[in-house]
């Protein structure tokens, strides 16, 4: 029985307490689930709440299991499957360092303009671009820069939320 592998973006609201990220990561490694991307930061200082955005993949049964296992962790408030629950926006931020001179340098700058990337550092021989976009856009940009003197890229991983007026 071949089952389709689905990619899901899951948002998790947790108590911002020591060990909570270790619990989430331990769950994924211990049970052999995939993590394609994971981001976490405090979103509510007064109530000490953090929001984790996870991108994972698996069969439907595995994805359901991941959500149930996350929900079962004691410090977890809510688990939302943004992929299942209707339209959502997903963004990543990347810092991309490119080194080069002459025509390659000009081409890098031209492409950065097309991708609406910002120059956040410049020297005579290098740029650091800041780019915000979907994972695919960041992939495309980094792919192009690879041919124009890419030194390194640093990416935040996906943050996401549902479209429309209602919140988490």
């Amino acid at each position: 029985m071949e089952e389709k592998i689905e990619k899901h973006t899951i948002a998790v609201l947790v108590d911002n307490e020591p060990g909570v990220l270790a619990r989430v990561i331990g769950l994924f490694s211990g049970r052999g689930y995939n993590i394609e991307s994971l981001t976490v930061a405090e979103v509510n200082n007064a109530d000490h709440l953090s929001r984790i955005t996870l991108v994972t993949s698996g069969t439907r049964m595995v994805v359901e299991q991941i959500k149930a296992q996350l929900d079962r962790l004691v410090p977890v408030h809510k688990v939302h499957d943004l992929t299942d629950e209707g339209p959502s926006v997903e963004r990543e931020l990347a810092l991309v360092k490119v080194a080069g001179t002459g025509e390659r340098r000009i081409e890098a700058l031209r492409l950065a303009d097309i991708f609406k990337a910002k120059v956040v550092d410049a020297t005579l021989t290098s740029f650091v671009f800041e780019l915000t976009g979907t994972t695919a856009e960041v992939d495309d940009f980094v792919g192009l820069m690879a041919q124009l003197g890419l030194v390194e890229a640093s990416r935040t991983g996906v943050v996401a939320m549902s479209k429309g007026a209602t919140g988490f």
């Binding site: 029985m1 108590d15 020591p18 060990g19 270790a22 619990r23 331990g26 211990g30 049964m61 359901e64 299991q65 149930a68 296992q69 929900d71 079962r72 004691v74 410090p75 977890v76 408030h77």
Partner: protein, 587 residues
Amino acid sequence: MPEQKLTGAQIVIKALKDQGVDIIFGYPGGAVLPIYDAIFQQNDIKHILVRHEQAAVHAAEGYARSTGKVGCVLVTSGPGATNAVTGLLDALCDSIPLVCLSGQVPTHLIGNDAFQEADTTGITRPCTKHNYLVKDVNQLARTMHEAFYVARSGRPGPVLVDIPKDVQFADGTYIPPTEVKHKTYRPQVKPEIARVEEAIELIATAKRPIFYTGGGVVNAGPIAAKLLTQFVKMTGFPITSTLMGLGAFPASDPQWLGMLGMHGTYEANLAMYNCDVMINIGARFDDRVTGKLSEFAPGSKKIHVDIDPSSINKNVAVDIPIVGDAGAVLEDMIRIWKARQKRADQSALKEWWGQVEGWRARNCLNYNRTEAVIKPQYALERLREALRGKNHYVTTEVGQHQMWAAQFLPFDEPNRWMTSGGLGTMGYGLPAAIGAQLAHPDAIVVDVSGEASFLMNMQEIGTAVQYRAPVKIFILNNKYMGMVRQWQELLHGSRYSNSYSEALPDFVKLAESWGCVGLRATTVAEVDEVIEKMLAVTDRPCIIDIAVDPKENCFPMIPGGKAHNEILFGPEDSPSDATPEDGMVLV
């Protein structure tokens, strides 16, 4: 009234009292001395000094499982905590409510590789339901109460609270349990009624139904077991149970088919294989139960009641999932069944029972009765007869003797049977028996054991002697790690690699060296005699060494990777064609 300050250690003791703890199992050490000092200065909580921290946890499990209360453990930092890890995971796998308190090095030394320092919360994170490191004495009372709440709520489990030594000395404020409400943890207890109604409609149309129940019913309390019995009686359906669920439905009832799974009965496994509606209450489709997943109860509709949503659709996809406490769901099921005036399809049920009785007539637990050697099954049959009608509790170690005990010892009530099911921890039975005995001083508590398992925690005889716990250690001594030997025989060409119990002690002399009673049976005629003598001992532990047939194997058996209808009945069934290659890799 001015706010009274207590030390952290006093807060711990006060919280334990307010949580209704009367016994705590533990072992002292540098990092818990303030708590031990606080224990010394009070009389409400009895401390039981074990001989190894693993045993403290198993004893607390035995206490918890036999009373329905939360078991409590106290260990020191570093090795104290790491020794407790096996017990904690055992409790997690079998959903036993425990609170384990561990000492930790002072907060300013954490992370400095201090003497007896371990990252206890890190190590125990995947071995507990939840854990805490308390760095502020003013959070200690709240954390203690939360720990008890988390341990007993929803699917029960072990919770660890790690308390640095300086926090135990520091002065802080105590708050009572009534003032503590957990921020997030609210397990769903009441089921969704629409789902229960759907289940009732399906149950009423079943032609070949079966109840498959598990430890969840036991954990839901004696009332849940009564409701289960009532509902099973109302429907007239056959019922089987997992190893952990034994006793929730009376084994003496004709609707009872015995345990299912790898060493379950033929009738239970074939009824599962052929059923059209399966009603799973509080069991988790464990691999010991399902066998080959693709051929597990093919063509059946499945209802699954579980308090843990992550148990649902984990191994087996079900048709009607119901999240809730087994007792609450059964109550609703009975109410709706009555309100809708449901009645099982009597002619279909009659036919189904005819089939089931045909399987039962196969008498799958039969064994080669002989006068020449003590068969382990015979010893257990005699034990069963001797215990009949007496107030008794049984624990086991892990292996062949455990499966035979599950097959041959009947339980008519929940909380009477304690065994390490999920983790399969050898050495569980003796400390668990001590925990059960201390909770029920007047009952007979028997640890059905093998000689190899017994050796794993035999130091606990000392604990039993010290607290005059008259546990009976009933050793079925076959001089082998029997289950290992059985698998080596079936799967590894009878190459008995390291499964022989070499250099065994004289168990009778061992008992005597501790001031206990030691008894031995080497012939069939002696079995009844030693059981009678064993039951007469009420003031000290008793070790019974029964020399059983070393070659006996545990049947029926569904080899790994096989379906429920591919059962082996005994040595006459060829093991070589029984196990496919892909089954060999399974445990």
